[in-house]
Amino acid sequence: MKRFLVILLAAVLIFGTAACGGNGNADSGSETGGDDQITIGYACKNLNDTFQTYLVDSAKEYAEANNINLDVSDAQNDVVRQQDQVNTFISQGVDALIVLPIDTSAASPMTQAAKDAGIPLVYMNTNPYPDGNFPEGTYYVGSIEKQAGEMQAEYIGQLLNGEGNACILQGQLVHEGAVQRSEGVVDKLKELYPNVKVLAQQPGDWQKDMGMTITENWITAYGDIDAIFANNDEMALGAVNALQEAGMTDTLVIGIDGTTGALQAIKEGTLAGSVFQDAEGQAKGAMEIAEKAAKGETVDDQIKWVPFILITPDTVDSFINQ
C-alpha cells in the first residue's frame, strides 16, 4: 500500500510538472471555441531559449489579433517528446501545425503523420529539408542560418581591415544553426579576408556564463584576440564581460539575435554589432501560411525566406524602437 502511494505520488509529481511545462504559458486548448475559429498546434523546441520565447510571443500576438486558437507545446529539446506532442495535436484535430524541428533529420515521421491526417504542416526557423524539396502539404518559413555568419564576417573583417586573430563561440553543436553560422563566418573570412585567422572554435551552448568562461580561457591562451564571433547574443555579452575585466576593450565582439541586452550594449559601444533574426517576421509569416492553409486557401509559395539584418551602432536606434 505504501509502495503504491509512493509510486502514485511520484507519478502525479512528474506528470503534473510535465503538464505544467508543456502548457505553462499557453492558452489551453478550449474545445468550446466557435465552429469557424481555427486551432493551430505550435510545437516549440525549448522555452529555455530567449529567442524561442520571442517567436512564441509573436505567434500569440498574431493569434489574438486574428481570433485563432493557439496551442503551444514545449519539447524541452527532446526529439521523441516533440514527436509525441505533434501526434497529440493531430489526434486533437487541430486545423494546422507549426513545428520548430529539434532534430532536422527526424522530421519525416511528423511530415508523414500530418499528411495521413490531411493537416497542413508549417516548419519554422529550422529547415528539415535543406535541399528545398518540401513534400506536398508542408511549408517552410525561416532564415538562411549561414547568412548570419557571413554577415558577421563581412562586417568585422572590414572593421579589422582584413588583418587579425579571431575566435568563434558556437552554440550547441547538435543544432544545425550553430554549425551553419560558424561555417558562414569561416567560409566568408577565407573568401574575403584570408588574413583574419580563426584561432579557436568552442561551443558555449548558447549560455552567457559559458561564453564568459571560455573567453577568459582564450585570453589566457592567446593573449591577443582582435575579434570574437558568437553564434548568439547571450554568449557575445558573456565574452564582453570577460574582455572588459581583462581590460581588452579594443576586441570586437559580434552576436546574433538582436536581444534587448545586446541592443543596449551596442548603443553603449561594448558590443560591435549583432545580426537581427526577425522573430516577428518568422512567427507571423508561419502563422499566416498556417491560417491560409487551414482555411483551404491557396498558399503561393511553399517556402518563405525571412532575411537577416545587420545591426551596427549606426542603425541600432531603429531596432530599439521596434
Binding site: V6, A10, M212, N217
Partner: protein, 340 residues
C-alpha cells in the same frame, strides 16, 4: 575526534604495516590526479600557471564548487539532489528581480528604488532554503526516494523560473550585487565567497552534532534512529543547506555574469555531483569529506580550463571528463571495499 577523521583512519588502516606509500596513495590519490593534470597542462601550455589563470580556474570552479559543498552533505547522508541547477535558476531570477537598478529598462517591480544588496541576497538565500526544505520535507515525511523528490523539484523550480520571467533574462543590476562578481585587489570575490562557504561547511560537517548525524544517517539510518538521532529533522536541515548552497551559487552567478537567465545552470547538478564523487564521497553513504569536494571541483575546473588552453577539440573534452569521473569512482569503490 570527528567522524570525518575516523573514516580516514579506517580507510588507511595501519600505514606503518601495510606500506606507507600505498596508504598515502589511497588517501591522497585524487590530489595526485590533480597534480598530474596540472603538470601535463603546464608542460604543454606554461601560461596555465600564471596567477591570473589560477584565479580564473578558481572563479570558474566556484559556482559548481559551492553547489558541491551542499551536495557532499546530501550524498554523505545517502541521498542525492538533482534540483540544485534549477534551484540556482529560480532563486537567481527572484533575486535578480530585486537587484535591478531603478534606471533599468525592464523592471519587475515598477516604482521600486535601488535596494541595498543585502535585500536581494537575503531573498535568494530564503528562496533557496525554502526549496531545499521542501525537498527534505518530502523525503523525510512521505518517504519517497530522494531521487524522485528532487527530480520533481528539478522540473518545478525550472518551470517556476520560466513563468516568473516569461522566459527572458533579468539584467541591469545595482553596483551592490555586481560586487559579488568583482575583485578586491587581485582576489576575485567569487573565490572569497567559495572559501567562506568551504569553512562553514567544513565546521558544520566536522565539528558539530549535526555533522555527526549526517554521517550516522548515511552510514545506517536505522541505527541512527535507534540511537536517538532525529532523522526527519536532520534530513530537512541537510536538504535546506543544499538549497542554501545553490542560492549562494546563484548570488555569485548573478554578480559574475551580470544577468540571470531562467534557463541558466542547466546540467550544473550533474557537475556538482561529479565534483563530489571525484572527491571521494561515497554514494553508499556515510563517507564524505569537504576537502574532497573542493579537490573534485578543482579537478573539473583545471580540466575544463586546461583543455581549452591546450586547444583540445570540444567533443573530446566531454569524453575526457567522463572518463575521469568513472576512473575516480572505480578507484574510490576499491578503496572502500578494502576497508570492509
Amino acid at each position: 575526534m570527528t567522524s570525518e577523521s575516523n573514516n580516514v583512519v579506517k580507510k588507511s588502516g595501519n600505514p606503518m604495516q601495510s606500506g606507507t606509500a600505498k596508504a598515502l596513495l589511497q588517501k591522497y590519490g585524487i590530489i595526485l590526479v590533480l597534480l598530474f593534470l596540472i603538470i601535463v597542462i603546464t608542460l604543454v601550455q606554461p601560461k596555465f600557471l600564471s596567477p591570473t589563470n589560477l584565479f580564473n580556474v578558481m572563479t570558474q570552479s566556484s559556482i559548481y564548487g559551492i553547489m558541491a559543498l551542499g551536495m557532499t552533505l546530501v550524498i554523505t547522508s545517502k541521498g542525492i539532489d538533482l534540483s540544485v541547477g534549477s534551484m540556482l535558476a529560480f532563486s537567481g531570477v527572484i533575486m535578480a528581480s530585486f537587484a535591478q537598478a531603478s534606471t533599468a529598462a525592464s523592471l519587475y517591480y515598477p516604482g521600486i528604488s535601488d535596494l541595498p544588496a543585502i535585500v536581494p541576497v537575503l531573498v535568494a538565500l530564503a528562496v533557496g532554503m525554502l526549496l531545499g526544505a521542501i525537498n527534505g520535507g518530502l523525503i523525510a515525511f512521505t518517504g519517497i526516494p530522494a531521487f524522485i523528490a528532487t527530480l520533481g523539484m528539478y522540473t518545478i523550480a525550472r518551470g517556476a523560473a520560466l513563468i516568473y520571467t516569461g522566459g527572458k533574462p533579468v539584467s541591469n543590476f545595482t553596483e551592490g550585487v555586481l560586487f559579488f562578481g568583482s575583485k578586491i585587489g587581485v582576489i576575485p570575490i567569487p573565490v572569497i565567497v567559495y572559501v567562506i562557504m568551504i569553512t562553514i561547511t567544513w565546521v558544520l560537517l566536522g565539528y558539530t552534532s549535526f555533522g555527526k548525524n549526517v554521517y550516522a544517517i548515511g552510514g545506517n539510518i536505522k541505527a541512527a534512529e535507534i540511537s536517538g538521532v532525529n532523522v526527519k529533522k536532520n534530513l530537512v536541515f541537510i536538504y535546506s543547506f543544499c538549497g542554501l548552497c545553490a542560492a549562494v551559487a546563484a548570488i555569485v552567478f548573478a554578480g559574475r555574469v551580470g544577468s540571470v537567465h531562467p534557463g541558466a545552470a542547466v546540467g550544473y547538478e550533474l557537475t556538482a555531483i561529479a565534483a563530489t564523487t571525484i572527491g571521494g564521497t561515497s554514494h553508499y553513504g556515510g563517507i564524505g569529506t569537504i576537502w574532497g569536494a573542493v579537490i573534485g571541483a578543482l579537478v573539473l575546473g583545471v580540466l575544463r580550463n586546461g583543455m581549452t588552453l591546450i586547444g583540445i577539440d570540444a567533443y573530446w573534452q566531454q569524453i575526457v571528463e567522463g572518463c575521469i569521473i568513472i576512473v575516480a569512482v572505480i578507484f574510490d569503490m576499491r578503496k572502500n571495499a578494502k576497508k570492509k
